[in-house]
Symmetry: C2
Subunit: 419 residues, 2 copies
């Protein structure tokens, strides 16, 4: 029925990819609310592709089962196990849609197919086949896709890692050239900072991909970082909305050059309590030393965030970096042989640190953000342990005890509140 | 490593397909018991393919979710949903095996691939690809396959219907030319009749496929009928054993001609409370009338068991047949238009009936089984409503209130007890 859908397009109908996270599909009743919402869009004539996560709690239940079987669950089998979570949701949502008279068809990651590399538990999407989805859309069906999962080229089930359903949504939107990718979540948009920490935090109407990337990677839990990268790369308009409260949410789009001067200097304050600091003390200061320390970390699939190298007086150097707190033990194990080989003095770790970032595209054309940030922290007597910067972000590592104090002080210093 | 496995075969190692049902894998602890059992076989040098069901209760939980979404759940989506049950078990069992140092790999029905027709919820296996499994076996891995499921030629997930995991096991054993297909269950073998009804029921060392087929189809719940058909057709030695109690179980094999005379006349008494009787009264007695009544039933995928046609005086005939009790409403709906078209007098149903069968290959060469059966029931004042016979079986339909009385009387009349 190409014809029919062409008519639709003539009438200014849109193709939306909507992603509903675990909380939004957490119970039978909530799945029915999602079905109502989707049915309404479909009945308005829009083409709809829905990406869903596992019902909240389900992934943890499955991981609990895995842990009761094997101390470190086999990565391949863990993917076979946890991917069932989304498979349950796609079937239930399709049933709910059909009950509402809306034709729908479910797809697992493999059925789409969403082809990934074979890095189990942390796979990356390589290619998406959209032929099946296109023909279902043309036949007037709502397509419901399991988020978070794919298959490698051997047909093994893979998962994209936690939060990967956002990435599935954006990748599908890009592949299908959707008009908008709408991420439904339990918050009603992106805020200047976490409203649980700062009462007067304000919802942003719009942020740029770059800002969102910095916000997400610095720990704003609203969107998964890779989904924002994807959206930016393929210029997929991304909207964050609430599943529970109607509202426009926050639109994430390209930074339109002309508007740069009108942007506020700082858009938001992001923070992250999940990091741990690792310091390799007394590395011989020879070319390649940093690489020899950091390559095995990457090789072990441990993500490194901030890296700082200080010069010492005695021909040695200290290399400090941060990893996720869950990766500290693994990092130590990976570094031990390297440290012995290099003859370093000491390997220190500290998981009582937090990171705070000040983010804003306006920073590009404004000096003084760094000095305002450092002065504000100094006034509160908060010691800065590490500093890292990008074009649109300044981040510091501090003692985690001062995190909330620092966020509130910075939010106020950069005048981000509602009033 | 073809070489290595050839050596194994020289040493009289066997290839076993073992199937563990929902009760056997019902908890984390029971999966660990299964892993211990499988590891022992593997460590003895046998090649092992394991077929598992969903953890007991899981399928019902999923069906409950489906029913809360849609009054009559969409068949395709129901398969997507319930197939997750076995997918969870295969992953958990592989983890448990790996924890025991046994290399293992899981396969969903689609990954094998187990190709079926597209009759959702009741699919039939058409073809099994064993290449992947072979290469894993050659590499020394235990292969763990999700029972009960497959894919159609479009890649849609299908399920074989309840009990279909037995069929998966036997079909895999046939495709792999396994030495034995061992069905682990919660009973320790096939009995002369249900021990819950007759205390003195006796475990059979051996039964023939034909006998087992009659027993299974008559309601002995030990094995799913299609699995026995499969096993007989491809001559796969089938053994029923207990997951919980060690013992030889019951071996189901070909009837060796020479031994027929040594077989007991009757091997067992099977019965079934799941049937309902449907009578179409006053069908015009013209050629093709029976077909016109029964074809739509088959077309609606309703299984008909006993069929009896009586001649009436007035150029009409009564056609009586039995279907599963769950299918009575559907049967009435399907027959209504046909009855009107044919101008039949009445459509009657009765779901308060039960079927009892006396089964034995020995019957072929012994007269008198029928008369013993009918006399025994007459002595108990039990009225026979329908009779149907095969070479090795005589079955009757009676009022379900007399079922237990009838089974006990027949078990005793055919001297099936232990003593």
């Amino acid at each position: 029925m190409l014809c029919a859908s062409d008519v639709c397009r003539d009438r200014q109908m849109s193709l939306y990819v909507q992603k509903f996270g675990g909380t939004s599909v957490g119970t039978v009743e909530r799945i029915q609310v999602v079905a109502d919402k989707v049915a309404k869009f479909r009945n308005d004539g829009h083409d709809m592709v829905i990406v869903v996560s596992a019902m909240s709690g389900e992934t943890n239940r499955l991981i609990g089962l895995a842990n009761s079987m094997q101390e470190t669950p086999d990565p391949r089998e863990l993917d076979v196990l946890v991917s069932t979570g989304e498979q349950v949701t796609i079937a239930l949502l399709c049933m709910a849609l059909k009950e509402r008279g809306v034709d729908a068809r479910s797809y697992t990651g493999g059925q789409v197919s969403i082809l990934t590399d074979n890095s189990h538990n942390k796979a990356r999407i390589q290619e998406i086949g959209v032929e099946n989805i296109r023909s279902d859309l043309d036949a007037g069906r709502v397509v419901v896709v399991a988020g978070f999962q794919g298959v490698d080229d051997q047909g093994n089930i893979t998962t994209l890692g936690r939060g990967g359903s956002d990435t599935t949504g954006v990748a599908l939107a890009a592949a299908l050239k959707a008009d908008e990718c709408q991420i439904y979540t339990d918050v009603d948009g992106v805020y200047t900072t976490d409203p649980r920490v700062v009462d007067s935090a304000r919802r942003l109407e719009k942020v740029t991909f770059e800002e969102m990337l910095e916000m997400a990677s610095q720990g704003s839990k609203v969107l998964q970082i890779r989904s924002v990268e994807f959206a930016g790369k393929y210029n997929v308009p991304l909207r964050v909305l609430s599943s529970f409260v109607d509202g426009p949410g926050t639109l994430i789009t390209l930074d339109e050059e002309g508007n740069a001067m009108e942007q506020p200097v700082v858009s938001g304050i992001a923070f992250n309590r999940d990091e741990a600091k690792v310091t390799v003390v007394g590395v011989p200061d020879t070319p390649g030393a940093a690489a020899r320390v950091l390559s095995p970390i990457g090789g072990a699939n441990i993500e490194v965030d901030v890296i700082v190298q200080n010069i010492s007086e005695d021909n040695t150097t200290d290399i400090t970096f941060t990893v996720h707190r869950n990766d500290v033990t693994k990092t130590q194990a990976v570094l031990q042989p390297v440290c012995e080989e290099l003859g370093v003095r000491e390997l220190k770790t500290d998981d009582k640190v937090a990171k705070i970032s000040v983010v804003g595209v306006g920073m590009r054309s404004h000096a003084g953000v760094a000095s305002t940030m450092f002065e504000t922290l100094a006034n509160e007597n908060i010691n800065i342990q590490m500093i890292t910067t990008s074009e649109i972000k300044i981040a510091v590592i501090i003692d985690e005890r001062y995190l909330e104090l620092a966020v509130r002080a910075l939010h106020s210093a950069f005048e981000l509140s509602d009033a």
